[in-house]
């Protein structure tokens, strides 16, 4: 599509507004908060909603037309997202399906991978996930131990992954494995695209402190993969993973063009706003409580203003891509301050629920238990600070004891 043929943002917006009003179900603002850990029905619903968007011609707005998208600009996507306020949307598919996995395939996948997986995701037929982290890994993703070995034309995969967000609901996953142990760690990795139903892949859901079960851990035992499962080049998997991490930072920070629809209620606070908490405690008139609510309002606003500024700056080249870590870091800070403020406001009521129900203040308490989630998921805040200081500010890199050393000679810890 040439520039001349592109619909204007305003025209697109008006068309979207009309279509949404006619076709999309409205959000029920009074719906009870979902119980964490029990979300299978949400995934069924997300696929239905995505199919609806696709049928209406509003799916994959920023993805190229040849892979099933609309080939429009981020401004079109923003306009659409603004219009979706108040409507149900398949927001579960934003991260990681569209904004991380599909975005990475678009950058690095084979023509076949792009055509098949991206378009299936846009149609609402498939959900995508990532198999990256490992139990021994932490921030050192490239130090992973899962191995893939060639047996004739077939790759044989063995190892263990964890922290795979919503992998239980996915059809395909990007899996990073070590294919050469005799070179420094980044140079011996290969990325594979794996069906989650592959024989030899066993998956568990991990229960979190707040009851959520969105993460999975996977055990790979002699999983067989064809040569066409490789994404990018053999032993060049780190290049693919780097794009994934870039897209992940962007998505978590809120700067991805592949995110469609406004994320649900703030996860960090268990889906509750501080207004809800302040009202539930009966303390909304206290100046100290009002100060805290106002602080939260300001932080949320600044977070969004920053997303808009920084993603624009990365887009225009005014800031380099590692600037996405600024969003990542501030997102965590704002989310954590939010849980702290909620705890302050809940006061003596955070310890208990109402009857056998956790209630508003009890939920604030449960959210507080996973306070650090915001500075751990999608790369820790510490890694974001390393990125910012080293990549954005140009400060000397941390001495790494595994740099330029064959991976099979690198020291490993006891846990």
């Amino acid at each position: 599509m040439t520039t001349a043929e592109t619909e204007t943002v305003e025209s697109f917006r008006l068309r979207a507004r009309a279509w949404l009003a006619e076709n999309m179900p409205r959000l029920d603002a009074d719906a009870p908060l979902p119980t964490l850990g029990d979300d299978d029905h949400e995934w069924v619903r997300a696929r239905e909603l995505q199919k609806l968007l696709h049928a209406g011609g509003f799916a994959g707005i920023c993805f190229p037309r040849e892979y099933g998208g609309l080939g429009l600009s981020p401004a079109h996507q923003r306009a659409f997202t603004e219009e979706t306020a108040g409507y149900e949307m398949p927001v579960q598919l934003n991260i990681p399906t569209f904004s991380i996995v599909a975005a990475t395939l678009l950058d690095m996948g084979s023509e076949e991978q792009k055509r098949e997986r991206i378009s299936a995701a846009i149609r609402g037929d498939e959900v995508l996930c990532q198999f990256l982290s490992e139990p021994s890994g932490g921030s050192d993703l490239a130090g992973l131990l899962t191995r893939a070995e060639l047996d004739g034309d077939t790759w044989i995969l063995n190892g263990q992954k964890t922290w795979s967000t919503s992998a239980y609901a996915a059809d395909w996953g990007l899996c990073l494995a070590r294919t050469n142990w005799d070179v420094p760690k980044h140079r011996g990795l290969t990325m594979f695209l794996i069906p989650t139903e592959a024989p030899g892949l066993h998956m568990n859901r991990v229960k979190m402190v707040n009851g959520s079960r969105e993460f999975c851990e996977e055990f790979f035992t002699d999983v067989q993969l064809p040569a066409s499962a490789v994404v990018g080049e053999v032993n060049n998997g780190w290049a693919v993973a780097s794009r994934q991490l870039f897209h992940e930072r962007n998505a978590v920070g809120g700067g991805s063009p592949y995110v469609s629809g406004i994320a649900g209620r703030p996860r960090a606070l268990g889906g509750q706003s501080l207004f809800t908490v302040a009202r539930a405690t009966g303390r909304a008139a206290e100046p100290g409580v009002r100060e805290r609510v106002g602080e939260w309002v300001a932080l949320e606003a600044v977070k969004n203003q920053m997303v808009s500024r920084v993603s624009r700056a990365i887009g225009s080249g005014a800031l380099p891509p590692p600037a996405a870590s600024l969003l990542r870091l501030f997102h965590a800070e704002a989310a954590q301050r939010g849980t702290d403020l909620a705890m302050d406001i809940a006061g003596a009521q955070i310890a208990a629920g109402v009857g056998t129900d956790e209630g508003v203040t009890g939920r604030a308490g449960v959210s507080y238990l996973s306070r650090q989630g915001a500075s751990l998921g999608g790369g820790s805040s510490e890694m974001a600070r390393n990125q910012i200081s080293e990549r954005l500010l140009g400060m000397p890199r941390e001495p790494a004891a595994d740099r330029d050393i064959p991976f099979n000679q690198v020291k490993r810890g006891r846990v």
Binding site: P135, G138, S139, D140, G143, T162, W163, V206, K207, M208, V209, N210, G211, F215, T281, G282, R283, G288, M343, D344, G347, A348, Q349, I350, A351, A352, G353, V354, G355, T356, D357, E358, G359, G362, G365, V366, Y368, L369, S370, R371, Q372, S375, L376, G377, S380, S381, E382, R385, E398, P399, A400, A401, R403, I405, V410, K411, R412, G413, R414, V415
Partner: protein, 376 residues
Amino acid sequence: MELELTADQKLFQSSARSLLEKDHSLDRLRRLEPGESAWDRDSWQRGAELGWAATIVPEELGGGSVSGEGVRDLTLLAEELGSVVAPGPFLPVNVVLAGLVAAHGTGPDHTATIEALVAGEQVAAWAVYEPGGHWAPEAAHVAASPTADGWRLDGTKDRVEAGLQADLLLVTATTPEGLAQFLVPTSAEGVTTSPQWALDLSRPLAEVRLDGVVVGPDAVVGTPATTAEIVEKQLQIALLVQCAELCGGLEKMFALTMQWGFDRYSFGRPLASYQALKHRYADMRTWLEACHSTTQAAAEAVQAGSPDAPQLVSVAKSFVAERAQWILQDCVQLHGGIGVTWEHDLHLYLRRATSDRALYGTPEDHRRRLADLSSL
């Protein structure tokens, strides 16, 4: 923790430790079904046999402490219990005992109850919070109306720790003459206890309805004139137990996180070699020392009945409850994702710390109390 312990104290400590190892596991806590109690009467009975309800009770009332300084022994125990997030009515029973002992001689006689509590034959709970309310023990909405031969109590309490398991409730109520406390059997007609969702898995809470509950004149604890002072003593014991158990828990989780820092490698180096993390360990270590310092100072003041005991327990509570959160959340951060999983121990301590922070006055409440006590 105190810097030096006597041989008797060490024995007392190790007997507690052995019992806890036998009767209690964090894994059991983690796997409790909804409605299942985190503790049973038998286990508490065994604790009582080791003196867990005896330390702050004078010998003539059936109590006694190994060091001769009951408050010191109480905090020593609280640290042990806190270091394993032990369930059981240690806090409420000792708080009620603090009240009964303080009241001894000023109102109806409760010697028999004291003895039954010390022996672990009975369990008591302090019913001081009311639904939707914050820390304001002096402002009870539960009403106690004088009758021909006693009192009639009406109203609702909540966040009653061990309320479901207790035989007796110590209820704060407003009488025509002001605040008073009443010992009410949970079996009395008109008393309904029901379970209340609790953040701390180890400490079941209850809602208690009092519907025209009739008690005799001997149910009163102390006198109207002494109630404020008795409640203050109860509060002091509650705060000390909280601070000491937090210290015990923090010590344990800090040690776990230290070990993790040495054992866990990233980029071929242990976490403990990264300066940004080392500095956070240094902060945590400093705060931990400060927590011990203020808890110990508060315990000494309460033990001595010093006039600054009310200040010092508020200093300790406001400080320790806040820093406990800082330290534990940083322990989670240093552990990475595993620190926010259900299978890890950290959240059990974080639940306890968050609950302790909330109850018997938040740090904010105690800071305002410090301003009041400083006559600002």
